[in-house]
């Protein structure tokens, strides 16, 4: 009986095993998260660390990088008189991206662009971005960092859509309709989400153990934020009658010796261990009616 080979066999064989995750699982999670933890989209890290999605949409980043560049070039052309070759190049790039550039650039406020934004996209053609960088010296750097962040967030959001040729108008629409502030200031929503997840236990404080299947047992249920709880049923003198500590535990209205407990009030202590934060006691009184 002391042989542990079965345990070893299964533990070694299965504790690190992997299984295919059904398609759409992440999508479903993402949808749920949207209402609970709205994305800040603070994608301030370089594209290389964007993760799996980053790899997929890297093409989109290139387009958007080029878009920025082209736009910068366009502004530059107005502010400073640049050599014609640069403008030509801009047109060249524009042609390469088959018109998607326009859609992607519409939402950009001229002042909110810093040369750095373009340079940060590593995939942008080296020469173009260098020229932009040097030609941008006259543009005063933007003081408000948050605007840049939200701009980038919008870019990242818009990226998947850039892949679809028909989506050009949509991008302009989405982006224009989107105010810049809510993306960053969602703390109020977060607080609401947190409040709805405070550890709570629910129970019916009256029990009628007469075998009619209505309130025959006393049980406690915890919400999502409750890790576990321990319920102790005592008589009015504090003598413990029954105790359990699991979701499906209950009291059937019997004393320790199996006899029916008499009608009356009973003290119940519910010791709650929340998923987060300190555990606490919740003393309640229940009524047993026969």
């Amino acid at each position: 009986m002391k042989d542990n080979r079965i345990e070893e066999l299964f533990r070694n064989g299965l504790q690190n095993s992997e299984s295919d995750v059904p398609a759409g699982t992440w999508k479903a999670i993402e949808n749920s998260l949207e209402s609970m933890l709205p994305a800040t989209g603070a994608a301030s890290q370089p594209a290389s660390s964007l993760g799996a999605l980053g790899k997929v949409i890297i093409g989109g980043i290139i387009v958007s990088g080029v878009a920025l560049t082209v736009y910068l070039l366009t502004i530059d052309k107005e502010i400073t008189t640049e050599p014609a070759s640069l403008v030509e190049r801009a047109i060249e790039v524009k042609n390469e991206t088959t018109g998607k550039v326009e859609a992607a650039t519409k939402f950009q406020e001229p002042n909110s662009i810093k040369a750095e934004s373009a340079v940060r996209q590593p995939a942008v053609k080296e020469t173009v971005s260098q020229e932009v960088f040097s030609s941008n010296d006259e543009i005063k750097p933007l003081a408000d960092q948050s605007e840049i962040i939200s701009t980038e967030a919008q870019i990242v959001e818009a990226l998947p859509k850039l892949k679809e040729p028909v989506a050009e108008n949509k991008i302009a629409e989405t982006v224009n309709n989107e105010p810049a502030e809510p993306i960053l200031e969602n703390s109020a929503e977060q607080i609401v989400a947190e409040n709805s997840l405070l550890p709570e236990v629910s129970f019916n404080d009256v029990m009628t153990p007469n075998f009619d299947n209505v309130n025959d047992i006393f049980r406690v249920e915890g919400n999502e934020a409750v890790m576990s709880f321990t319920v102790t049923v005592m008589n009015l003198n504090g003598k413990v009658i029954h105790q359990w500590s699991a979701p499906n535990g209950f009291w059937d209205g019997r004393l320790e010796n199996g006899q029916m407990a008499p009608s009356g009030k009973y003290l119940v202590d519910i010791f709650v261990q929340p998923l987060k934060g300190a555990p606490y006691h919740k003393p309640v009184t229940i009524k047993l009616i026969r």
Binding site: D3, G13, L14, T25, T40, G51, L53, W244, A246
Partner: protein, 179 residues
């Protein structure tokens, strides 16, 4: 990216980072969920719910210990909550079978991951849960008793029965091979 960096970015609700964390651990966790649920459909629901909990409670992850273990414990908890709907206690009482363990066939050590998984999945809910918790996740009977709302003794006897059941299936398998 290290887990630490990943967690930091997830806490900023960076969707890309959250997806990366999901993709990093979801295959392992899916396997765990199947082990508890016994089928893919329920496992997917548990996985989904579990990961949402992971992201909501990530701010409480202390950073000590490994992230994988922390995620795992949330998954196990979610799975147990899910399984409580199927009343495993009643089922257990009815499982009156002996748990004498006979000799272990040599061939069993050759069982592959797929076969082990199949064996576990064929166990009834109650047995499967206890076997998973004790043999694979390595919880003590005391912990299991607390988690499942049963006595320590029930946990022990039910575990031995689950184990005997598996043993029987393994032996039957190897006999078939020999014959």
């Amino acid at each position: 990216m290290t887990d630490e960096q990943l967690v930091k970015q997830c806490l900023e609700n960076n969707r890309n980072a959250q997806q990366e964390l999901f993709e990093k651990y979801s295959r392992k966790m899916m396997s765990l969920c199947i082990r508890y649920a016994g089928n893919e459909d329920d496992a997917k629901d548990i996985l989904q719910e579990g990961f949402i909990k992971v992201f909501i409670h990530l701010k409480d992850y202390s950073g000590n210990g490994n992230l994988s273990g922390w995620i795992k414990s949330i998954m196990v908890n979610t799975a147990l909550n899910f399984l409580k709907k199927s009343v495993y206690l009643t089922e257990m009482v009815q499982m009156e079978e002996g748990y004498a363990v006979s000799g272990i066939a040599q061939s069993e050590s050759r069982l592959g991951e797929q076969e082990l998984m199949k064996l576990i999945r064929s166990l009834p809910d109650g047995f499967r849960t206890i076997f998973n918790l004790f043999a694979i996740e390595g919880y003590t009977h005391k912990e299991i008793a607390h988690m499942m709302g049963i006595s320590e003794n029930t946990s022990k006897t039910q575990y031995l029965r689950a184990r005997a059941r598996l043993q029987k299936m393994i032996n039957a398998k190897s006999e078939k091979v020999i014959a």
